[in-house]
């Protein structure tokens, strides 16, 4: 989490709740397999935790995690493309988080290079939604997600989150309003 005054620290306890779904979808969109994506996600969190001392605070926590995730995806492709290649991409200073530095990174960062248009657009849309959800208050995001993505009944969500239905609707509504704002320019047609 970002604290006041530009000083940034990490908050590993909250990583799973806040970023796991986004990172998981990101990984699926790049490797196309849910189980591999789960492994990569776990490796990412573990690597992030081990590297947390080297977190310089010059990137937002989420950006930093995505950068590590990209590394792990590249590692995965290295391993599956060549059994000989044992080289892991080091999590050091030579890593370029913009993804433009090294050609392998660039290729993975560009989903259109390998896949067809429509499913990609829909999974990119899913990512955009998850991305927005990771930026809004977590209880709103969770209420929205349970209702809209996981299709829970109102009753079950109220029990799970221990809130009243009218509370739930206000939270869902806040999340929707924030999403409209966040997704605005790219996904909404102006009318």
């Amino acid at each position: 989490m970002e604290s006041e005054g530009g000083q940034k620290t990490l908050n590993p306890e909250a990583w799973v709740d806040r970023y796991a779904d986004y990172l998981y979808n990101y990984a699926i969109s790049r490797v196309g397999d849910e189980n591999i994506a789960k492994d990569i996600l776990q490796d990412t969190f573990v690597a992030a935790l081990q590297a947390s001392k080297s977190f310089k605070g010059n990137a937002a926590e989420r950006t930093w995690l995505v950068a590590i995730l990209k590394h792990k995806i590249i590692d995965h492709y290295r391993r599956s493309n060549s059994q000989k290649a044992k080289a892991e991409v080091p999590l050091g200073s030579e890593f370029d988080p913009s993804g433009e530095g090294n050609p392998l990174q660039r290729q993975i960062a560009d989903p259109e290079s390998t896949r067809e248009n429509d499913p990609i657009e829909n999974s990119e849309l899913g990512l955009a939604i998850q991305n927005c959800l990771s930026q809004i208050p977590q209880n709103h995001a969770r209420a929205f997600s349970l209702k809209t993505i996981e299709h829970w009944t109102t009753e079950d969500i109220c029990k799970e989150l221990n809130i009243s239905p009218s509370n739930l609707w206000v939270m869902v509504h806040r999340a929707r309003t924030a999403l409209m704002e966040c997704l605005n320019t790219q996904w909404f047609k102006n009318n």
């Binding site: 799973v16 081990q50 829909n122």
Partner: protein, 79 residues
Amino acid sequence: MISCDEAAVICSKTQYREAGFWERLQLRMHLLICKTCPSFSRKNRQLSNLCDQAVIKTLSSEEKSRLKKRLQSTSSEDA
């Protein structure tokens, strides 16, 4: 007559077909006289379409707690 804020919450509720008859009626009336809410209502409908269209996978809560445990054991190894 309901306020714009109330209308907006009902509007979100209708996206899940869970607004009652009375609420829907109040919303309709509000949309007839309000200048700003109809465009919100349109966007809200678009958002529902986007959500239906989006490919989104979520980890189950068991998978999330397993991940959390894994992280906790990693951080205590380091300590």
